[in-house]
Amino acid sequence: MILATAIFDFHYALHIAPTILYAARITLLATVLAFLFAMIGGLMLALLRRSRWFFVRWTAMVCIELLRNTPLLIQLYIVFYVFPFYGLTLSPMVCGILGLGIQYSAYLSEVYRAGIENLQRGQWEACTALGFSSRRTWRRIVLPQILPPMAPVFGNYVIQMFKDTPLLATITVMELLGTALNDASHSFRYVEPITIVGATFLVLSYSSSIVVRKLERKFAVVH
């Protein structure tokens, strides 16, 4: 009897697959929005870390280290459970996007930092010599040069973030895993829902990692 229920039930799997796969749009939406947030947040953190005021620089560094070295789960709990105490009550989805976006801002700030530090000093000096404003230097000279080689690194972070989205289920976001667990709690069948979620993640992340590898080859640093 136990074995009979354990064997993968294809009929049941086909029955629930559409619901679960439909939830993939929440997963993808969360990934895209959170990553856009992180791209902007990461740049801001990287700039704050280069600030000319010691206090700003130091605060940015502490924030980055704290965010990088602590579990995403706790950060999500803080956004979801603690923020409302300070008048910031957000929907679970927005909390999830914010939580993911904040942690990945810290990750990406390190990527920006590496990019900025790798830029030849002559580029900055030329901008100074030409009398460019700092705004113009960043927008026209620095960012256009550091962003393209960062594309594959960003790609890897997108995939990593995508694989972190199941954590949003813990703050009641109905993404892939949340939907699957919801189905499982009704039917008491865990095999099919969780397998479908795993397979979906595998297919999507493996195919995107092939794209990233192509990007890596394209932007390979030639020494």
């Binding site: 136990i2 074995l3 229920t5 354990a6 280290e65 704290l66 990088r68 070295n69 602590t70 579990p71 995403l72 789960l73 706790i74 950060q75 709990y77 803080i78 459970y81 603690v82 105490f85 694989k163 972190d164 989205t165 199941p166 954590l167 289920a169 813990t170 895993l177 667990l181 499982a184 865990y190 095999v191 969780i194 397998t195 979620v197 795993g198 397979a199 993640f201 595998l202 992340s205 493996y206 990692s209």
Partner: protein, 217 residues
């Protein structure tokens, strides 16, 4: 946040560390085996290792934790929460570590291997005395990051009823209602736990660094 609450949180730290170290003990041999097999020229070794690495890297770690905890019992494999957490985290980080090992081994130049073979060393000796010692230093920075990631991932075992630091925080909030204080303290404790790890990794990096002049003639 008073002293008693802090004590209750700190009492759960050993469980977090236990999950961390047991997963590490499980992940390191897996990573070495999978990484070496994946870097091998023999297809029978390379393919299974590749499938293992891609499957465990491609599906999310939380999904794997739930799979081990909820699905395996249906097939007659019932594991305690601790073992389930350790198996899932260990297998997942074994796969990530496998990629690190592979990249490290492949980073050693082919001349080194060929030179050692010409000197009459056997394949195992070449691996142990020539390739691995040189593969160490490129492997350390990514392996160090994985170590921190593993520590952070142990928080997931709170979702399969294990009383780790995160779980203790949740329980304490239910009895005290001190949401802000407890979550911020938990966050800081995780951060403090990560510091010695970072220190340990940078110490290893310094110890295994090969001077440039010795590496290239």
């Amino acid at each position: 946040m008073n002293q008693d609450q802090l004590h209750l949180l700190l009492d759960a730290v050993p469980t977090t560390l236990e999950v961390f170290f047991l997963s590490l003990v499980f992940a390191v041999p897996l990573a070495l085996l999978a990484g070496l097999a994946r870097a091998s020229k023999v297809r029978v070794l390379r393919w299974p290792a590749g499938i293992y690495i891609e499957v465990f890297r491609g599906t999310s770690v939380l999904v794997q934790v739930f799979f081990v905890f909820y699905v395996l019992p249906l097939y007659g494999v019932t594991l305690s929460p601790l073992v389930a957490g350790v198996v899932a985290l260990g297998a997942n980080f074994g796969a990530y570590g496998g990629e690190v090992v592979r990249a490290g081994v492949l980073s050693v130049s082919r001349d080194q291997r060929e030179g050692a073979l010409v000197l009459g060393m056997g394949p195992l000796l070449v691996m142990r005395r020539v390739i691995l010692p040189q593969a160490w230093s490129p492997m350390l920075p990514p392996a160090g990051n994985l170590l921190i990631d593993l520590l952070k991932a142990t928080a997931l075992v709170s979702l399969i009823t294990l009383t780790d630091l995160t779980f203790a925080g949740q329980e304490l909030i239910q009895t005290t209602g001190n949401v802000t204080g407890i979550w911020l303290t938990v966050l800081v404790i995780y951060f403090l736990l990560s510091l010695p790890l970072r220190g340990f990794v940078s110490l290893l990096e310094r110890l295994t660094r090969i001077p440039q002049s010795e590496r290239t003639p």
